[in-house]
Every structure is written in C-alpha cells, then in structure tokens.
C-alpha cells in the first residue's frame, strides 16, 4: 500500500510536471569516458529533454570541488563527482541527493611510484613525499592505504592537481603519487603501481563517481531525473554490448585515442540499473543497500581527518542515497 | 597726504581676534583688529612674515571665521565667501581645464547672467588687462604676469564691491611686477574699485596705497596706519621717479623702522 500511495503521488506530480517543464537543465560534467559522456555524444538526452523544449546546458568541471560550489550557488541542477565530494555536499547541507553511480573506481586510480626509487611495498614510502589531489577519491584511498600500512604519520602528502603531479614527477620532485587516468598512464611510463583502488575496494574501501541532483529539482521533476537515468542506462548498454564502440564514441567526444579511452573504461566497473538497485548498492527505501554504509564509513573517516566537521548520521545517508529514480526509470522502460 | 573724510564705509572689522588650532597647539594669529575700509580706497597691508596678513584677508573674504569680534560688510556680518568680495591669490588659481575666456566668464556664469552680457563683460575686462587676443588660449600657455592679469580680470568681471589681493605680484620678477603695479593702479582709478592689498614690499605699498596699514609680528595687531598720496601723484604725473622725494623716504624709513623693530 505504501508503494501504491507513492505511485499515486508520483502520478499527480507527473501531470504537474508535464504542464510546467523547466526551460533548461544544467549539468555539471567531468571530462572522463563514462556513460554520461557517451549519452551526450550520442544525443540520448535529446528525446527526453531537447525535443520537449528543455535546453540542456553542460558545464565542465575539473573536479567535484567546483561542482559543489556550483550546486551551492544554484548554478547547476545535476553534477558528476567523486563520492567523497558527494559526502561534502551532504555534510555542507547543500540540499542534494545521490541518484546514480556512474562507475565504481578500480584500477584507473592507483598509487604510482617511480622506477628506480627502490620502493617495493607501501611501507617503503616512509619519509617520502606523495602527491595527491586533496579532497578527491584518490586522497581518501591513499589515506587508507597508508593507514593499513600503519605509516600515515611518516609520509608527507602534497596537495597537487593532476597536471602538476606530472610536472613534479618528470622533474623528480616526487617519487610517488596517487592519481587517476589519464595522468596515471603518463606516470606509469616511468613507474609502476604499488596498489590501486580495486585492491582497496576488495578491502571495503569503495570509491565511485556518482551523480547528485539538487532536491529542489528532483522533487519537482522526478520524471526528468528518471529520464536522465534512462539515457545513462542506454549509454551504459553500449559499453556492455560493445566496449570498442563505446570507447570510440567517448574517445571522439574527449579527443583521446580509442585505445586510451578503452583502457580507462576498463579500469572501472559500470553497473546496470538492476545491479544498482540490489542490496550491494542502493537497495530500497525500506532496506537501504550497502553503498549508504560505504558512504557513512567514508564520511566518518573524513571527519576523523578533519575534512568535515560533522559526519552525517547513517539515517541521513540512507535518505541521501535515493533509489527511487532508478526505479521509476526501470518502470518507464518496462511500460514502453 | 590727502585727507580722507566722510567716505562711505564698506567693510568694518570690529575687535577681531583669530586663533588657529585647539587649546595646547593654538596660535593666536590676529589680536584685536579694528579697521574700516571705505568705498574706493586702496588699502595696502604691510608686516613681517607670519604676522597674520593672509589671515586677516581670509577673515574678510569669509574663508575663516574670527574667533572673537566680527567682520561687517555694509552692516551685515560676513558669513562665508561671496562674489561681492573678489579674491586674487599670490599664485593665480586659474583653472587649467578652461580657456582664458572661460576663466573670465566663470563668475558671471555662476551668477546666471544672460549670455550676451557675459560676453560683453568678458571682452571688456580682457581688454582692460591687455589680453584681448588671448581668449582662446589655455592658461598654461601664458607667462606668470599674463596669468595674474587673467586672475584680476576674472575677479573684476563679477563687479565685486571690494577686491582682496594677497601678495598678488610676489611671484613675479621685478620688471613684470612694475608693469602690473601700473595696471592695477589704472584699473583702480578708472573703475573706482575698492582694493585691499597685501604686500611685503614697502615700495609697492607706497606706490599703490592711499592707506598703508602696518602690522606687528605675531599675534598680528595694527600698529600704525599711514595715509599716503604717492599713487595719485604717479597717476597724475604719469611717472614714478617724481615721487622719490624726501616725503617718500621719510614715510618709507618710518615703516621700515617699525617693521625692523618687530623682527629685531
């Protein structure tokens, strides 16, 4: 009955939304080969938005940090970001919710060390300087890598953006860095990985790129959020059916080689809607999946680090990681 | 020396004192000044440096309010600057962003006179100071003496009741200065202007004034007022040398002695 009531409510909202669609939707995107990039390149959003008179604006951000600022100021409605930034968004009461997981991060984020540095295992990093973009998913994983090894107080972390990491690496200023593709590939030309995010994910330290939406938007236009997810799902299907083709599309869009794009994509895991609705990720409203738990753990860790002052409660995360839109999207597709 | 009696009084200074600054750092610049300026007079004020000559002029102009006593103009207390009292400064304060014409027209324009009248006035006074051809020039294209002539024309263009001049020729070289003295004497005579003129040059005072006021060193008081007539003599006889006579040196030496005794 609960579900039915929700459905009814949904329908009422639906008709209201049909009447007054927004004039435009603003997306904050990252320039990485993911489902969103493919959807944009293939024009999957056209049928849901453009053809209904909604203008689609995309803003490219270098990181979730900027995306959060844009969300806070109300400049964008949707944003792609690492889950650590999504935690900041919740902790800072930006009034957003998490509606999608683009990809679970794996080998595409790794701890690289330089050839000839003599570093064989994580413990050898003692006394060394490690570069990492602060506030990123890599930052979080690196901190846990160091913690597992018990040397978190014996290394010096440097806050650097990816380009600067490459420069410092080539100059020999640093011998270790935790970063992602395509920067990682550049480092690995003269280096090797000690560990990566997929290894850490096995130990329970999961990181992912996620989509957050302003609640003001999602509450008013839940169908549009669901449509957005449908488009992403369509794009994800291309990758799952024909990775080469997907890489080609993304590569063209980003101006990188297909091989490079494919390599980057293979470093991550893309989940279908059904998988995401399982207990491993979103779960249901009554029975939240474990991703909310992962977020809470990460949040607690960030709080201990001093990055955020208060870690939101598990209940808050359960609400924050909202499966409803994926559900609507699935239902819509089944109806069609 | 000519007798000056029954003239119409224009400005009356009564028991005026002026103190600059507050309590501890205060300077008594003027003490107990009493002076009457009559219509048509040419009054020159002499005194050692820092005795308060400029301060006196500022009180009359309305730039500074006396600490005690008062300045009356035609019976009304002076209360701020006013176009009836024109002022010529030591260094001419011509506005460099205006042409000579615009400078001279400034006063009449401020008083919203009709355009044709403004033009007439401007032409008349530029002619008066022998600068007819220079109307379209900017003031920085003029020499020091020419500038001071424009400043005088600008003040006269308002037909003020009195012209106050603070060492107007102090910055000019000796020769230009002499020309300017003749010019101002002629203007004074021809227009029957009232002039209050500060100088530190005893000769200049004697060659221009019909009353010369000598002030004491700080705090400035009026020590003595000389009624003199050399300026009329020069005007009548058309030459300066004639007046270098005993009379002249007698007055001059007396003034010099007073001032020297002040400096000690």
């Amino acid at each position: 009955s609960n579900e039915q009531a929700q459905n009814e409510g949904q329908e009422i909202k639906n008709t209201a939304a049909e009447e007054e669609l927004p004039e435009e939707i603003n997306f904050g995107i990252l320039r990485v080969p993911n489902d969103e990039t493919i959807a944009l390149a293939e024009g999957f959003f056209d049928k849901y938005f453009t053809e209904r008179g909604i203008k689609v604006n995309t803003r490219i951000f270098d990181s979730g940090v900027e995306a959060n600022q844009a969300l806070a100021s109300g400049s964008i409605d949707f944003a792609t970001m690492g889950n650590t930034n999504a935690i900041t968004a919740l902790a800072r009461e930006l009034n957003v919710e998490l509606v999608w997981i683009h990809e679970v991060l794996g080998e595409n984020e790794a701890l690289a060390v330089k050839n000839g540095s003599g570093i064989e295992k994580v413990e050898d990093l003692v006394g060394k300087r490690i570069a990492v973009p602060f506030a990123s998913t890599s930052h979080y994983i690196l901190l846990n890598v160091l913690k597992e090894a018990g040397i978190e107080d014996q290394v010096q972390l440097l806050d650097m953006q990816t380009a600067e990491i490459v420069a410092a690496w080539e100059r020999g200023d640093i011998q270790a860095a935790y970063t992602w593709q395509p920067t990682l590939a550049q480092l690995l030309k003269s280096g090797y990985t000690l560990t990566d995010s997929s290894e850490m994910a096995e130990k329970g330290y999961i990181t992912a790129n996620v989509e957050v939406v302003r609640k003001k938007f999602s509450e008013k236009y839940p169908e549009l959020v669901a449509d957005f997810i449908s488009a992403l799902s369509e794009a994800g299907d291309i990758y799952r059916n024909n990775p080469k083709k997907a890489a080609e599309i993304a590569g063209n869009e980003l101006g990188i080689e297909t091989e490079v794009a494919l390599h980057q994509m293979r470093g991550t895991t893309w989940k279908t809607r059904e998988e995401l609705l399982s207990q491993d990720f979103f779960g249901t409203a009554d029975q939240p999946g474990s991703f909310a738990k992962v977020m809470k753990d990460t949040s607690d860790f960030l709080q201990r680090q001093g990055s955020i002052e208060e870690s939101p409660s598990q209940a808050a995360f359960n609400k924050y990681v909202n499966p409803e839109y994926i559900k609507i999207s699935l239902k819509n597709d089944q109806n069609n | 020396m000519s007798a000056q009696t029954n003239k119409e009084s224009l400005i009356k200074i009564e028991n005026m004192s002026l103190e600059y600054g507050e309590s501890i750092n205060s300077t008594l610049a003027l003490k107990n000044i009493n002076l009457e300026i009559n219509k048509g007079e040419f009054i020159c004020v002499l005194g050692p440096s820092g005795c308060g000559k400029s301060s006196l002029l500022k009180c009359i102009a309305g730039y500074v309010k006396p600490t005690s006593g008062r300045v009356l103009m035609q019976g009304k207390e002076v209360d701020g600057p006013d176009w009836h009292r024109g002022v010529v400064f030591q260094s001419p304060t011509l506005y460099p962003w205006m042409t000579v014409n615009e400078n001279v027209e400034f006063g009449p324009k401020m008083r919203d006179l009709p355009k044709t009248e403004i033009k007439e006035i401007r032409e008349f006074f530029l002619d008066e100071v022998n600068l007819s051809g220079f109307g379209e020039n900017y003031t920085f294209e003029l020499s020091g003496g020419m500038k001071q002539r424009v400043a005088i024309a600008r003040v006269l263009a308002n037909y003020p009741q009195v012209v106050l001049m603070d060492e107007p020729f102090g910055a000019l070289d000796a020769l230009t200065r002499e020309n300017m003295q003749n010019l101002i004497r002629n203007i004074w005579k021809e227009n029957n202007t009232t002039i209050f003129f500060i100088t530190h040059d005893v000769d200049e005072a004697l060659l221009l004034a019909n009353r010369a006021v000598v002030m004491s060193k700080q705090p400035g008081e009026i020590i003595k007022i000389f009624n003199v007539d050399f300026t009329n003599q020069i005007f009548e006889k058309g030459s300066k040398e004639v007046i270098y006579n005993e009379d002249y040196f007698e007055v001059k030496n007396e003034i010099m002695d007073i001032i020297h005794s002040q400096i000690d």
Binding site: A72, S73 | P96, W97, Y138
Partner: protein, 285 residues
C-alpha cells in the same frame, strides 16, 4: 636622465633648473638611437638564447618549448581556435568581463571616492572597509563570490570589479585631498555654489589622478583575470592558459602569456593616449 653622458653633448641632457619638467618630458620621448638599439638587442638576445637552448635539446619541449613550436601553436590557435572556440572569442570573452567590471568600478568608485575626499563623514564610513578588503588576495574570497553569485560571468565580473574598485577609489580620495584649496576658495568667491564647486572644480581638477587610478585599476584587474577564469569557464584567454596548464601544453601557455603581455601593453598605451587627449592640461595644475 643619465648623468654619465659624454661631456660634449651635456647640454642636451642637463635640465635647466628652471625648466625641469618640460625638458624631461621632451627628452623622455626622444629615446636616442643607441637606447633603441639596446632594447632591440636585449629582446633579440632573449629570443636567441631561447632558440639555442631549445635547439640544444637540454630541456624537453614540455619544460621549454622552442620558438618555432610556440609559433606553430599560435598559428594553430589562430586558425582553429582553442577548444573549438576561435581566439578572438577567447579574447572577447575575457575583455568583456574586464570592461564590464571596470565600467562599474569607475561609475561607483569615482563618485564614492570624490565624496569621501570631500566629506570626512563619508570617508569614515567607506574607507576602512576598502582598506580592509584591498590587500586581500582575490583567490581567498573568490570561492565565496562563486557561492553567492554562481559560476557564471557575474561572479567573475564582481571579482574583477572588486580588484578595480580600490585603486580608483583611493586615487579619487587622494585627488580631492591634494586639491589646491585655493581652487575651491576662489570658485566660491566667484559665486559658485557647492554643487558648482563639485562639478566644475573638484571633478575636473581630480581627473588626472582619477585617470592614473583607472590605469592602475586596469592593471590590477588584468592581473586578476586568470584567477577569475579558474572556475567553470570554458572561454577566455586566462582559461586557455589554465586549461593548457592542466595538460602541460607549454607551447599554448607561452602563446597565452605572449598574447596577454602584448594586449596588456596595448591597452595601457590606449589609456595613456586617452589621458593625453582628455587631460591635456596635466602637469599644469
């Protein structure tokens, strides 16, 4: 001017005590041939050193791209634009931000500055606020501006506006303070009312310093340009350099720097030209 000149043309350099201003200016305009040659040689040797170093291959092109490489990058950007946007649109985007910001800075800072100089009470209200924010690094408060005004041009323009406001305001206050009080007094003795004094005397007399303030403001705002294009820009010459930095495209960085250097010099020359035309009496107050 130089004091070590050869004895036999001394009279050209030694200013007469009476005419120092005039002399110096005319001398300044007349750079001798030797000096022009020296400037040329300086730049020529900078280019030569650059060329030789890169030719020797001591550094990778990422560390130091050669002149040819930079030139090619320039031609490429000129032809194809950067990131699909033509070069002139990048310049246009940046200069729009700059000029909108400076326009508002001038039209608020000049009246406020003049009033502050004129009325101590206005100054008491505004001055300490300006003095407080003025030395702040723009990047420190840019995040707040983005939070408050969004990621669009508004926050960029406000950042540039704040950068430009202070120098103009300060110049105006100081202009009124330095104002020859006799200008004001003489105007009042000529019958000018307060309003006339302000518009006919204080304003024109302050123009030379106001212009200097505007030139400084332009310089400061120009320096802040790249910072303002750090957040959520996809066009602008500053963004181009930042984006090139992200991908370590040193040749594009060089192109951007050279373009910014040259446009900066050109705009300053333009402002100087305007200044000479408008404030023809400068130096005669």
């Amino acid at each position: 001017m130089a004091l070590n000149k050869k004895k036999n043309n001394k009279q050209k350099e030694k200013p007469a005590a009476n005419h120092p201003k005039v002399n110096r200016e005319s001398e300044k305009n007349k750079k001798t041939k030797t000096e022009k040659a020296l400037t040329f040689i300086t730049w020529a040797s900078i280019f030569l050193t650059w060329y030789i170093i890169t030719k020797l291959g001591i550094f990778t092109p990422t560390l130091l791209p050669g002149p040819a490489r930079v030139w090619m990058a320039f031609l490429r950007i000129l032809e194809n634009g950067y990131n699909g946007v033509p070069l002139w649109l990048h310049l246009g985007a940046s200069f729009k931000r700059l000029f909108v910001a400076l326009f508002f800075a001038i039209f608020t800072a000049v009246p406020l500055g003049l009033l502050s100089g004129y009325f101590d009470k206005v100054e008491a209200v505004i001055d300490s606020v300006v003095e407080f924010y003025r030395p702040l690094p723009p990047l420190a408060y840019y995040t707040l501006l983005v939070l408050w005004f969004g990621i669009d041009d508004t926050s960029k323009q406000i950042l540039l506006f704040l950068a430009g406001f202070a120098p103009i305001y300060i110049a105006c206050v100081s202009a009124v303070r330095k104002l020859n009080q006799d200008f004001v007094l003489s105007a009042r003795s000529l019958g000018a009312a307060q309003k006339d004094v302000f518009f006919k005397i204080v304003l024109p007399a302050s123009l030379p310093e106001i212009f200097t303030g505007i030139r400084t403001a332009f310089g400061v705002a120009y320096t802040t340009l790249v910072s303002s294009e750090m957040v959520a820009a996809t066009s602008g010459i500053g963004w181009m350099v930042l984006d090139a930095s992200n991908f370590l495209k040193s040749d594009v960085i060089f192109v951007g720097i050279i373009i910014m250097g040259i446009t900066g010099v050109i705009i300053d020359a333009g402002l100087r030209f305007l200044e000479r035309k408008i404030i023809f009496w400068k130096g005669h107050v």
